[in-house]
Symmetry: C2
Subunit: 391 residues, 2 copies
Amino acid sequence: MALFQETEYLERIRNTKKRMTDAGIDVLIVSDPANMNYLTGYDGWSFYVPQAVVVSLEAEQPVWIGRGMDANGARHTTFLKEDHIIGYPDDYVQSPVKHPMNFVAEQIKRWGWHNRSIGAEMDAYYFSARGFAELQKDLPRANFKDGNLLVSWVRIIKSDPEIEYMKQAGKICETVMQTALDKLSPGVRECDAVAAVYRAQMAGTSEFGGDYPAIVPMMPTGEKTSAPHLTWTDEPYENEQAVNLELAACRHRYHAPLARTAYLGQNPPDKLTRLAELTVEGLNLTLAAIKPGMFCEEVEIVWRKHIAKAGLEKESRIGYSMGLNYPPDWGEHTASLRPGDKTVLAPNMTFHMILGMWMDNYGFECSESFSVTQNGCETFADFPRKLFIIN
Amino acid sequence: MALFQETEYLERIRNTKKRMTDAGIDVLIVSDPANMNYLTGYDGWSFYVPQAVVVSLEAEQPVWIGRGMDANGARHTTFLKEDHIIGYPDDYVQSPVKHPMNFVAEQIKRWGWHNRSIGAEMDAYYFSARGFAELQKDLPRANFKDGNLLVSWVRIIKSDPEIEYMKQAGKICETVMQTALDKLSPGVRECDAVAAVYRAQMAGTSEFGGDYPAIVPMMPTGEKTSAPHLTWTDEPYENEQAVNLELAACRHRYHAPLARTAYLGQNPPDKLTRLAELTVEGLNLTLAAIKPGMFCEEVEIVWRKHIAKAGLEKESRIGYSMGLNYPPDWGEHTASLRPGDKTVLAPNMTFHMILGMWMDNYGFECSESFSVTQNGCETFADFPRKLFIIN
């Protein structure tokens, strides 16, 4: 059974078709697993083989096309009618002589859409250069257009039921962050701290279980804080060191990320304590400034002005739209809180705002995930904003 | 510091260049994170942005090109010289007006390789259709060729140090599987069983910690066993039901997957018990038949003949090459144990052989990860092969 009411999926499809019409796209081949899920409910770890949801202006319901063995998964998780679920034979899988997109092209020909304007998600993770080349070869009369992020822009405003799952993820994330802080201690191996975090992510709460977040837990310390995407080792945490905690929880593929900074030891440097105060103050007042109707870039200006008073600047973006997603990223690649982004904030948009200040040999970060409300914003997790001292 | 000796990376690069020469490729753009790691040591959760390792027949060392903030990660994890690590500015990230592959093309022009025969991994997960289109646009004088799986085929024979990490992963996987069996019980929520598994995967052993496997734990029960890639829920396991356990452990990105089947309850159906005996017997004798020099397809024939005696057949492949990898798959997409695969088994090739027999409303699966040795094969984990009865 699909996660949401059928009416909600139909609304999402209507909104997608509107954007398709505006973009001059008759048929959209959706391969981004989050977009496939958004339009149909499909949820499975099957994106390691090519698959698609095909939306046509000429058809009411989209069609799911995937590996034959995953058709049952589509029956379990989507609202689609049986004849809108099509599995391809297993000899298409990792074959040197044929490609699943040849099968997708066959279906498009069968439906008579081979000479339409066809959109493909050109920069999606699981739509390959080869897949596109096969479509071009098999559908020479089609007019291909880039449909990248088309559905993602529909997704940017969440429904109330979606917000509810993000709130549940926020609740789980509170226990995830507390688990990390409880476990961190000099001498504890990084892998053991990460193990405790993973356990908390999946166990969730007694009311609702957790799902796998789209990004692994990041808990770097010492030198590695300057290399933000290195994962853990089995070395122990050391005393008198800061640890950056970039964690998340996930509920039915909806995310609530949360970042905090901890210091292991008795003697946090004064400059770190001051940086923490400055950053938390900035986080508080930037969140307080958020209102529907603002441009995304205006949110960033609030923060920029705040740190400028301390003589500091931070050039990168401070946040991004996020929600429903799959590895390798929970970000939606649409709106960013950064200079030049004119996206207008609207109720039920959801962001992760992460303020990280990196000096020569120390740093501090603190973040919140939130939804824009009618009058301001509301964070998904309720967790103290400060430098955590662990000794 | 890179994980392996520099001499080992140089050997891998030499073998890659040999294959490039055979394929008529002068310059290879490697975007598969496992292949990037294999050639340079690079290991980070940064594949959610476009990145590449560029190998040229005209240059001794490859060049790592990635997001500026990940250059430090490359310095930490690769053997490359400082001037072979190039970060692109952050305004290339998720930009509507430029793409990181424009930056890669710029570098290729700078090195004077713009009119060479350039290979791209056309079907790799993290090399997009858009990325390829940008390269074609920026390098109109290049002759593009498909370099897909070129490095993956070099990787198929592991070095002894690589085998050592896979053995460590196998050791961790024994505790992972035992943890799952200890935790499974009627009334336990699926998410809580998965939480215990995740914890064991990362904690590893007291000697060595675990890394994140490329696929999430799969522990379906009841109806969901017929939909193999659905992930867990927060529903409780029920009594008198079978559970399929498709688990793995990972050490420094090297995998050892392992599958077993458990039955919760006092009364496993006779037909399930008989199927388990047949399958385990087949697994034992197929493993015993493996010798260097065999074709991959010959391994499958041993199994096929065995189940044919019981009047059964299984059409899909029974195993595949695996080792170093990143989400979404630990398989290498090269050799498969299936009809028609003429890959010749050689010492230090590593496979996951998974025998799953699915009847109308019940099934059994059992697997082993192993390396081919001088005389036969050796499994990475030592774990009983049977139907586990939990009551």
